[in-house]
Structures are given as structure tokens and as C-alpha cells.
Symmetry: C2
Subunit: 436 residues, 2 copies
Amino acid sequence: MNIILLSGGSGKRLWPLSNDVRSKQFIKIFKNEQGAYDSMVQRVYSQIKAIDADARVTIATSEAQVSSIKNQLGKEVGISIEPCRRDTFPAIALASYYLADELKVDESEPVVVCPVDPYVDASYFEALKALSELARTGEGMTLMGIEPTYPSEKYGYIIPENAEKVSAVTTFKEKPTEAVAREYIEKGALWNGGIFAFKLSYMLNIGRELTGYGSYRELFDNYGSLNKISFDYAVVEKEKNLRVMRFAGQWKDLGTWNTLTEAMDENILGNGMMNEECENVHIINEMDVPILAMGLKDVVISASPDGILVSDKVQSSYIKPFVDGIDQRIMYAETSWGNFKIIDVEADSLTVKVTLKKGNSMKYHSHKHRDEVWTVVEGRGKTLVDGTEREVTVGDVVRLPKGCKHTITAVTDIRLIEVQYGSEISVEDKEVFDIN
Amino acid sequence: MNIILLSGGSGKRLWPLSNDVRSKQFIKIFKNEQGAYDSMVQRVYSQIKAIDADARVTIATSEAQVSSIKNQLGKEVGISIEPCRRDTFPAIALASYYLADELKVDESEPVVVCPVDPYVDASYFEALKALSELARTGEGMTLMGIEPTYPSEKYGYIIPENAEKVSAVTTFKEKPTEAVAREYIEKGALWNGGIFAFKLSYMLNIGRELTGYGSYRELFDNYGSLNKISFDYAVVEKEKNLRVMRFAGQWKDLGTWNTLTEAMDENILGNGMMNEECENVHIINEMDVPILAMGLKDVVISASPDGILVSDKVQSSYIKPFVDGIDQRIMYAETSWGNFKIIDVEADSLTVKVTLKKGNSMKYHSHKHRDEVWTVVEGRGKTLVDGTEREVTVGDVVRLPKGCKHTITAVTDIRLIEVQYGSEISVEDKEVFDIN
């Protein structure tokens, strides 16, 4: 099975665990069989591999997510990197070209496209396999329609011609009101979960037709000039040869704290306690310090280095405007070389804990307006400062005055405390160089 | 007026803002006229000074609180330091000897004793003045009795002989049930707030009689051998010559989050937001990151470097056993020389932000099992490492290998990031030396 997972942008609805550089699909929240915690991406990826060990998985995403994906899934997974965000049609077209040109997938093969973050069980992936086989043998496009469990206002609806397992599609409906949704459901309508399958050749033809570009390289280089347009609008709603396959298994969208906590196996994740008077309370704590909850009902508490949310579960759906109003420095992020955590902020200084994974390096860079001091507290590495190499280990101190070019390579996993000081400390103050 | 303020021990009921080294009376929570925030101690002290600028204020407390008191009240205030905790009778006896021997207060002068942390207005201090004058002209002991506002089970009761402003005392009653409290109140009983006045000579006589020690020095040196006994039990309940003065003004005990938040002028202290669906919610945030509250009712949220409490207000009274169960490093503390904040904890390293106030020094000390690196990020100072002095300023790095004796003196206010690393990092690993 060829599967393209669409990995969307930064979601603020799960603040403070998601932020501008960390999307909800990377939050580790689901207990796996080994007792460790998986993110949505990890959960979906291992579910696919369990059903089809040979599945060729490609994640369509932006550069910003590449580090997180590689950190969480390893280097095996295919990644189609969108040079900029251009909605789902360009993303799916680019990923299809990537399959054909970079991964050399035969044009006659079927491809399944779906979001990276549904909360589903194995039956969903069995259904994807069936969808893929339908696409292999049929023409045009095959969709998966989800049997509604309630008259949701959050989803678009697919109206099938009949109640068979696989049916032609009569029409699509936009997100309705609850009353209208009820009417649709009485007529046998299905939720549109953005799950499609087609032969690769089908998508390459449409890609050429709509973008004018014939190869992955060409499309990639001109990606910024494409219009923002959804796959539904550009392709699905215009296609005559459309079938929908019904799916009645578990399918949840974990887009808010309310729905996400419903999917959690335990009420406390991280350092937390609650008294017996707490009812339907969830604590998700990524900080080092304990959270104590007492006498609460239907409340989610979530804490990360970015902030602390305490919300009634239903109210948590309305978080976005409040989080938009928080103009805050990113306090924790995964990067291509490891991760960093800002541990102290003062007017003229900033202290950061930097962790590099074995074999990785920072970019070779300099700062105009700040000096830095590194103190290695774990592991071994090699620094390069203005062309001079030096081996460093626990206890070594590296002074990095303004203007000096510097990087560090992790010989083993390495951790250092970086103290920045100067009158203008900003993430913008960074110039990157090639090492020659 | 001579006034002894009894400053009690560490309260866990206001966790995470109070802890083993920081008592509730030092939490800055009350907005003053300048728009800054005062602690209970600061509020009471300035209230006394507003009523009687010449009042001689002595705080009876333990060594652990001396730094906080000096930081918050300056060096003018008298402090009677208890070498160890021995309940209120020894504490009041010691403070009385301190007044006589160290401050040379005449034995004929009256002394008022009361807790350091009542939430009161000016009328309370006017009443203390009146109490002091009663003690000046009378013999024995004069108490202040507070007119009950509800049948509390939290306080002892004083039964006066009559309803006059000043009356003899018939008897005392222990904390009653609500029903019994109701009966007491019908008979004109008053709350016993632990507020007494007497002539200094009276207390010195009792002190000699009950302890056998005749001077401040002697009592101080033998303090550890005294029995733990309350002033009520040792003195008040045995005294025949007892009067009580009624007080009907504001008097509140801010011992729980529920009562404390009632006294706050604003619902948010520190970095916090709440949506309009919040009702009777208080946020007290000492962390750098924002707290967002949504759709909560009757909830207090309190966050400090030690932890995060989210509690129904009534339930917050039952916090103690939970906090007793938290065995956690103190993450922030005020010291005699400034303050420290632990900003990162790893297995083999600890990062601390250390702030010294101008003119102060750490103790000259060494560690057996850890190395340290200081990076100065603000101000100027002078370090002493194994006998060698060095001037340091922003950007200077000081390496402190295991075993080296070291200290720093703040020439201006100074701030440094201290990185500790080693296999056994513990507060116990510290040897202190004299500088010669």
C-alpha cells in the first residue's frame, strides 16, 4: 500500500502542548504496548505497519516538521516537503510527483491519502487497504465515507447514491447545522474525513493539467507560485467518476482538549496528583514540578514550558483567540539536531538547555549582539569556533564572544547549558555559514 | 507601643507559594498604595507604623525566617531569634527578655503580643494601643477578645463576666463544635485570637519562675532544654488577674487559599488570563509562563517554581496531607544574601540562577562531590577562590572544581548562572569555612 499522510500546520487548540513549531500530532500522549508514550504520528505509523509491514508511507508536510518526524519515526519514512503552505491540492500533487519521481513508484499503483491524525483502530487501516484495492481496479477516485455517530456540525457530508458498501456519489454537502445534519443522516449521508484513493497516474495527469508542471523538481521549484486551493474543491467535487466506501469503525478527530482527553488511557500524564473529589479531570504535565488538583469536575490541566491551561473541558474548544493573544517566546522545541529548552529569561540574559543527539551538529553560525558561554554537563562532543576544533566533555566551558562562528557536533548524545548575554537577545540575531 | 509579633513556622496550607523555607507571611499578595505587592508581614508592619510611628516592633521567630524578614522589612525591625522551635510560651518569654536586656526597655512599660499574620485594618491597631494602655495602668494580663461573626470551630473562646468593653474573664473554652460555639456566642463569648498585653516586669517574673533563667543570654543559651508549651496553657489559663477587651472590627485568619483569595484585591496576580465564563476564580502565578483559565467556578490556581495547585476553593483547606506527600527539592528561596532559583534539574547536573544583593556575600564554602561553573550575567562582584581574589563582571566565567573553597561578594547587585555537575548533587554536600 502507498499511503500519503497529510500533516497539517501548527494547531493552537492544544496549547500549551502545541505551538508554532510543535503541532498536535507530535505530542506524546498515547501509552503504547511497551508502556512508553506515542504521539498521534507514531501511533498512526505503527498502526499502518502492523497491518501492512511493506506499506510505503510518505508524509506530506512543511520543513518545520521534518525534525519532529525524523525524531519520532526515524529516517525510513518518506517525507514530501512543501516549500511553503499551499493547502491540500498542491500538497497532494507534490507528494504524488514525489512518489513517482523520487521513490519510483509505478504509475499504475494505487495511492491512499488521509490526514495524519485521526484516532482510529486497526479496522480503519484494514479499510484503507480495501480502499486501495478499489482504486487499483477502478478508475477515477474512491473516497472513504464515515458512518456518522451524531449529527456533527464539524464535518462535510458525502451523499451516496445507495446504502451499499461501495456506492457512487450523488453530491457533497458543506458543514451543516445540527438540524440539517440530522436530515442528511436520515438520507444515509456519510462524514467526509478527507480520505481518498486513486491510481498514481490519475493524480499525475491532474497535476500536469492544473499546475502545468510535469515533474517533482519542477513543481517543487515553482511551488510558491501555486494558488491555495483544497483537494476537495480542485479535484473531488469536479470528478464525475466518484465512488464512496462506507466505514463504520472507530474514527475520532482529536482536535480539542475535550476530545483528546477522551482518548487518553490514564487521567494523569506526567507529574500530577488529584484528590478523590476530582471527577473527569485530566492532567497532562510536561513540566518538572508537580501539579495537585483538588475538588475539580470536567477539567483539563495541561502544563508545558510554554504555559499552563486550566479549562472546563467543553470550554477548551474556545481556546484559540486567547492563545493567539499570547505573544510568547517558544520555550521548548525539537530541532533537526535534538532539542532546546529555555530555562531562564532575564532582560539581558537567556539560559538554554541544549541537547544534541549523537552524530548531529548545530548549523555553523554567529550572533551579532550577544555572547554565549557553553558548559557541557553530559556526554562528549567536538566544537568548531572560528575554524578551530576542540574536543569537549563534561565540565568543559566554551566561550563564544559576539561575532565568532561556532557549532558543536555530538560525539555521544551531549547536553550543555548555554548562557546568552547581551543587550539584544533575539532568535533573529543569527547568521549561518558553510563549513569549508 | 512595644509590640511582639509571633511569626510562626512553615505553613504547607498555602503550597506551592509556602514551603519549608518560605512561610505564608512572606508571600507578596496585597497591593499597596504604590501599586506594588506586600506580604502579610509587610502589611502588618506598615499598618503598625501608620498608627504609631514610634512603635517598637520585635518579631519572635526562628533563624530560618531572618533573611526574609530583613529582606522585606529592612534592618530596623527587632528580631528575637529562637534557637529552635519551642511553642509560644518560650518564644514570648525569650522576646520579653530580649526587650529588657538587648533593647533596654523599662520593665514598667507595657508590651503587646499578637500573631504576625492577621488580616486586619487600622481599627485593630488602634485597639492594640488601647490594650497597651490598659496593661500600663493595670496589673496581671489583658487579652483582646474578638466579637465572633459566625460560630467558628477553628478558634478557642473567651467567656467574659459581662458585656462591658473591658470585663474580667470567667473562663476559656477549647475549639468547640459549631452547635456549642453557637451556645457560647449567645452567652457573649469572644474569639481568642492570641492577643495579649502585660507589663514587661510581669512577664520577666513569670519567665524567671517557670524557666529558672534570669537573663536573655542565659535563656537563649538554654532554649533547647525548655519544654514545648503554649502561652495560653503555661500562663493565661493560670492567671487570676485577667481582663478582656472586646474588639468588633475586621479580623481574619488567612490560613487557607479560600480565605486568602477573599482578601485579594484582584483576581489575577502575575501572568494570567481568564475567559468570561470564569466565576470566582483566582490566579496567583509566580512563574514566568502564562496561565489561561477557562470556564472555571470557585477555583484557585497557584503556581510557583515548586509546583502548581488547581483547587476548588473549599477543598483547598484539605491540602496538607497531599503536600506532605510531595518530597521535592526547594526550587526557590530567599537567603541572607539574596535569593536562588533552580532553573533546571537533571540526574547529574543542576542549574541555578543566583542573585546577590549589593554588599552581600555567600558563605565561604566548598563541595566534595560536585564541580560548579559560574557565568556572571548582571552586575559586578569579587570572587574569592582558595584564597585568591578576582573582580568579575558580565560575561566572566568562574570555574569551581570539587574541593575548592569559594565565595562571591556583590559589589553591585549581581546575578549569575551556576551550573553544578557531578554524580552526587545534594544540598548536604557543603562545608563552610571562615575567611581569614
